[in-house]
Every structure is written in C-alpha cells, then in structure tokens.
Point group: C2
Chain length 455, copies 2
C-alpha cells in the first residue's frame, strides 16, 4: 500500500468551489483591466537566477526556489567545490534557474528584452503564480497568485488616476467597500530631509511599513534602533500621526516641508492627483495617509494601499510609481506605475463578507435522470438544445435507482432534475423537478429551455 | 551595463497578442467543459518527488525538474554521500520536490487525497502549465499548458460519448474541422492474443504509436526489433492497414478476433459507442482507426486522437479510458476516462487557418486624444460611460502633438480616435475618427456610446 499522498507544505490544492471562486476574481480583474486598455502578457515560471538574484535583498535571495540543473549536474566539477562551500554558494554551482518570486522583476526583464517590439506607454497586466520559500504559516503560502497591472513609459499622473479608477471599479464589481490610502515617496524624502537624515530614508520607510503590525510605539523603537535620534522621532511623530482631512494634512506638510524641494514636488503631485480623483468621481473612500510607506525600495512617486472597510484584513492591493525599474536590466529612465491585487486575501474578504455571486456555483443547472436507453437518447437531444443556449447540464451515466441519481444531484448542488420516463417519452415532454422546494412540472423541450434560461 | 536579459531555453514569453489568443483558447474549452458539467480544480506546480517518480518510466524520471531543498540543503549530510553518487541518486538527496510533468498524475493524487470530500462520478477539468526537461526543439517546450478534462468513478460509455461531444463542440466553436480517431485497447490486446504474444502488448503499442512519424515500414522494423516474428507481423498488417468504413472494419476484426474474449469485449464497446455517436449527432468526422495505439500504458479501454483536417499538424487532442490510475496511490478500482487538449498545437492550427476571431484583438476600441486639462475631464466622464457599457477605451496620458497621439493609436491597433477640442467641448460633443477609412463624425456622448456598441 502506498503512503497517503500529500503535497509539499505551503502549497495548496483548490477544489471546484475554490477554483470557480478564484476564477471569478481573476475574470473580474481581467475584465476591468481590459476596459482600461491593458493587455495581458505571460512570462515563464522559471527565470535565470542571474535575472532574479540581488533584486529582492539578501533575504529575498534566500527565499528563491532554485531548480537543479538537469542531466549530470555534477559533471566537470570538482565535487569538493560543491560540498566545501556554504549552501548558498554551492546552490549556484548546481542551479542556473529559479522560480519567479514576483511579477515585477520578470516584467522589467520582459520590457527590456522586448523593448523594440513594444508600443510605449506599454500597458500590461499579468496574472500568474509566484513562489517563495517562506516559512509556511496561516495566510502565507509558498505558491500564490499575483494580479499585477502596470504601465511603463510615461510619468503622467493620469496613469495614477487610471489605476485608482481600476481599483474603484474592481471593488465595485465585487460589491465591496474599500479605502484607498495614498502617500508619496517624495513626501517621505522631504520628511527625511527635514530631520537631516536622508541617509536613513530606507530605514525609515522599512520601519513605518510595520505600523499596522507593531503599532506606533513599535515603529518608534525600531526607528531609534535604526539610528534615528529621539529628537527626530519627536519631529516626525506629529506629522505621521496627524488626524484630519486631506486638505488639512496637505496644509500641515506644506508648512513642515517648505524647505524641501523634493517634498514640495511630492505635495504638488498629490494635490493634482486628488483633484483628478475628485473630478473622475471615484466612488470608494480615498485617504491621504502620511504614514503609508510601503517597504519596497523601488518606489519613487505616489504609493497606494487598499484595505477592505467591512472586513478585518491587511492590505489587499498595493502599488505605486517607480522611476527606474528597468535600469537594473540596462534600460534606464523608464518611469512606470503599477498596482498588484492580492488574490488570496481578496478571496478571504469576499468569502467573509459573503460576496461571491450565485454564478460561482460550479454545478450544472440540470441533471437528466438515466431511465433507459431510449429515454437517454431523448435526454441527449434536449441537453444539446440547452447547451446551445448556454445552459449547463448532464445525463446521469448509468441506469441505477432514482434515489442514487437524486443523491448525486443533491450532493453536487445541481438545482434541477429532469425526468424522462415512459410517459414523458410518449408525449415528447420532460418532468422538471426543482430540488429545494420539490415543485414538479411537465414541459416541452422548448418550454424547458425557456424556463431554465429565465431561472 | 547589465547583460542583455534572456529567459531559460525552452521557455517562452507571451506578448499581448499571443496571450489574448491563448486566453481565447482557454476560455473556449472552459466554457464547453462547464456546459457539460465539469468543474475546475488546481493543483500546485510543485509535487513531492515521491508522487512523481516512477510514474513516467525511467526516461520520464530524468525529465523531471527537481527543486533544490531550501535552506542549508547539505546540512547533516556526509558530503561524499552526495558527490560520490551518480547525478540521479545525488539529486534525490538534495531535492524533495519537483515540478509537475503532466496533469494526470497530480489528478490521481488529488482524487486519492481528497476522496472523502468528492462526489463520484467526479468530473473535473484542469488548465495548468507542466514542465519537462526535454531537449528544446521546434514545437517542443520545457514549459507548456495542458487542458485536461476527466471523469472518474464510473465505467459508463456515456462518458466516452460526452468527451467526444466536448471535442466536437470545442472545434465547432473554433470553426475548425477535425477528425476524431477512435480505437480500443482491448482490440489491441485481442490482436496480441491472436498472434500469441500478449507479453509484447506494450511493445506493440509503443511501436504502433510511431506510425505517423516513421510509417508502416518503420513500425514493422521496430516490431521485429522488439521481438515479434515475421509471421506475426504478416498477421497484423492486414488488420492495421485495412481501409474501409467503420462497419467493414468491425466486420473484419470481429472475424479475426473471434477467439479472443477480450478482443470481442472491446468490439462490443466500440459498437455501442459508435451507435451513441450517431444518435447524439456529432458533427465532426469520426473514424475507427485500428492502428491507433497511444503510447501511454495506463489506458485500458477506448482511446482517442484528434487531428485537424485542413492543417498539417500532429495530434491536437487525445485521451482514453483508464481503469486503475489511482491504484498507484492506494485507491484501486476507480475507472476513469479523460481527454487532453494540446493548447500550443491548437494555437498553431488556428493561427495557420486564420481562425482567431476579431475579438482577440487586445487593443481598446477607442483612444481619447489629450488636448488639455478641461477636455480631458470631459473625456474621462465619457470613458466612464463607455466602460459601463463594456467598451474599452483610454485617454492619452500627455498633452503632446496630435501626430504622436495618432501614432500611438495606430501602432496599438486602436480602431477609433475620439477628439475633444475647444469646439467639441463647447457643444459637449466629440469628433470620432475611424482610423482605417478616415471617416470622421461629430457625436453626442450618447450617440458615441450607441455607435461604438454597434461596431
């Protein structure tokens, strides 16, 4: 007897219910992306390690899944070379490829590699899985999907607006209220200037990024540990924790950052963006959040994060503008802005709020009972008609007791059962039984089609 | 300057045109699978090597992509253990996981692992990439998509019929004529019995599977190399090369295999299946092909292969019945039948026959020129209306020369350009220009929507 089969820890199987709901999320974001003129691309699961290494920090390098070279991977190698090295060094001698860690670096690689075939501004979306050798824990998986939408090749703020409109429209489609938090990296740079510690900008944003998890006191402790003085912390605290409307916040930082050209440039951009947002009529709540940092180093302009209003969950969507993402692959000066939808978390939010529509049931609408050979031929002809009208249905495969056939319909959640017995066959009709209420009616094939089309 | 970025050999990037066309293929098969009551599942890209090894023969084992254990993969290991072994043995000491090689074995693993949560007969489809460390060559990739549809838990021939109906419907949707070739493993067993070499059944089918590539003479040479006598070859030749209609072929083998109970059982099943096919009104050509073998060992009943009629290409779809696929994971006696659509080959066929519909263009329908701030606000409000009617459109992000904006529309293949200048703004209208013919007309927002909806 074989061992009970299992899958690697941190990975998941998705059953039909889960898969159909996931597809609903993917189809919805794809539909909205398309309405805004974005087109899909796909990149391979495997990238050369030279593409991936050094792009996610030392910690990220460790989390890359590496693929053993095929064939005789030890060939032509002094074996001690492998085994006397540290695991990290040894891995690079026997692995040339790795699984992609996110969609951003492959996208940058794609843009540089195909730059002469692309039309700029290049608007793309990409929905693919990524892999990270993270320690698996609740809500953190080693394989998960990212849904990224980006445009590169223009620094127009209209694209920031467009992405926010997309966020608005996606969550409107999900019938889910969210709050969009916005900040600007140049404002954070201005704050770092103001306290005379531009050298610590990365540390400041990394610490602030943990605000949700560790609270302001935790951030302060971390800021000080990262080298900020107590006086600097005192200076930034009132800005980052300031409560008020967007206009009041802008007034406050305009005053605080008056001496920083960078800071003022960020403020100007945000003012324009908020004006666009008002004029475009974005329906979701939009908030200027001066404490929003987003940990990733490559952001240089506006940054965004989205949270559900009626369900406790971290950020379900985030992004921002980056000015030099393709520079790492030798194509500098291409500005871009993008946003990433977290499919797993959105799934949990929609499930928690009971927002998956009935159309995400995966059972067909009708099961035809199998009551004999001739009856089945009639059933098949009716199924053909129904399917040509887009109604899903099937014939039970064996002529067994009706109870067993009803049980199957019930367990699969098929709402209607169609019965063709001798009597029905003679009249060329079908008895349709609705399983929940138990109503039954006799219909002609045409009536059946019309009835199920309406339901 | 960084090296020119590249992707691993045998893998591919898909640009927007290719991705949209691929999605058209995936969406079409998914729609048809759903109409027949099949529901999606997904399994992880990585499986434990214990799940994958030994399932695809020694050759297959070598073609598995293995994933290096994360962390210190050499820890607690006598390094000589690794380096003194052959590459194959060494790999297993440092790799526990591999990328899936097909969707069939993961499906069998899924069914066994989740058997108590599933409703049988269990009808599932699965569209996911698979990976093989094959030597890359024209038309053979190291990463490619499989589209599998299977039902397990019933031996009813109605499921063979259902899958053939699905094939019929899928290619009708693609507006592509195909021929479905059918044979039965029990007939092949009967032939092996007839020549007294049941021991060579696997060799016989493996050799016959190459008929397309090496011709009948090549098959004969291989049959003899695999141990078949010349007299046996003489006996099977007239059967396998017999030309005639289905009824004549059935008459021939009924005569030849009269002494084989297994063979006769296969003939009976095919007779029933062909009768069902006739009654269900399958529109595509269906042929009994006594030389069809399909190399995979696990088939035990009817087997299928599909080829395009108007385009030279190998098999674009294939499958069959297997009686014991889940047995390898400890759940014997579950009969199933399935079919797999080769997305890459179908892509090439549709491209070659020019069958991709216009809806697979990926550009939005209309580009609004950017002629100033106020004009853009008006454009945004119109775009909002259009999108709510499902019409994709976008606003050019910068107020630059009209020529540049027209060029962008042209290069992206956007068919309409909407112009809002001072004059249009005053009248709250828009000038719509069709780029190919150059016609231009002035429309109200409502007229614009109606016009583009119709086009």
């Amino acid at each position: 007897m074989a061992d009970k089969p299992a899958i690697p820890k941190g990975t998941r199987d998705f059953n039909p219910t889960e898969s159909v709901r996931r597809n609903y999320i993917f189809d919805t974001v794809k539909r909205v992306f398309t309405l805004y003129g974005y087109a899909p691309i796909e990149t391979p699961a495997m990238e050369n390690l030279s593409t991936l290494l050094g792009k996610y920090g030392a910690e990220g390098d460790k989390l890359l899944f590496k693929i053993l070279n095929s064939g005789d991977f030890l060939a032509g190698m002094d074996h001690r070379e492998v085994t006397s090295s540290s695991a990290n060094v040894a891995a690079l001698k026997i692995c040339e490829k790795g699984l992609r860690y996110d969609l951003t670096v492959p996208f940058a690689r794609f843009v540089v590699q195909h730059q002469h075939e692309l039309v700029f501004p290049f608007k793309r979306y990409q929905l693919q899985p990524v892999w990270r050798a993270d320690r698996p824990q609740r809500g953190r998986y080693r394989e998960f999907f990212q849904c990224d939408v980006d445009v590169v090749g223009s620094d127009s703020l209209l694209y920031e607006l467009e992405l926010l409109q997309i966020v608005d429209e996606v969550f409107k489609s999900f019938d889910t209220k969210v709050c969009i938090y916005i900040n600007h990296r140049k404002i954070l740079s201005g704050i770092a200037e103001m306290i005379g510690r531009t050298d610590l900008l990365t540390d400041i944003t990394a610490a602030m990024d943990k605000l949700d998890r560790i609270g302001w006191e935790g951030v302060e402790t971390e800021l000080i540990a990262r080298g900020l003085g107590q006086d600097a912390v005192e200076k930034v605290r009132p800005i980052l924790l300031f409560r008020g409307g967007t206009e009041e916040k802008i007034a406050l930082i305009t005053q605080c950052l008056a001496g920083s050209a960078t800071g003022m440039a960020g403020i100007e951009e945000l003012k324009t963006l908020f004006e666009w947002i008002r004029q475009a009529g974005i329906g979701q709540e939009v908030v200027l959040d001066l404490s929003l940092a987003r940990g990733l180093n490559y952001y240089t302009g506006a940054i965004f994060e989205v949270k559900a209003l009626d369900y406790e969950m971290g950020s379900i969507c985030g992004g921002g503008r980056y000015d030099n993402l393709t520079g790492i692959f030798g194509l500098p000066g291409i500005s871009g802005v993008g946003i990433s939808f977290g499919a797993d978390r959105i799934y949990d939010v929609l499930l928690g709020l009971d927002k998956f529509p009935a159309s995400t049931a995966h059972a067909p609408k009708v099961l035809f009972m199998n009551l004999g050979r001739e009856e089945s031929v009639f059933a098949l002809s009716m199924l053909k008609q129904l399917r040509s009208s887009g109604i899903a249905g099937e014939l039970y495969p064996e002529q067994v007791k009706m109870k067993k056939q009803f049980d199957y319909a019930d367990k699969r959640g098929i709402p209607y059962v169609a019965i063709i017995g001798e009597g029905e066959l003679k009249q060329a009709k079908v008895s349709l039984k609705e399983l929940k209420q138990g109503q039954q009616q006799m219909l002609t094939p045409d009536e059946l089609k019309k009835y199920l089309e309406k339901e």
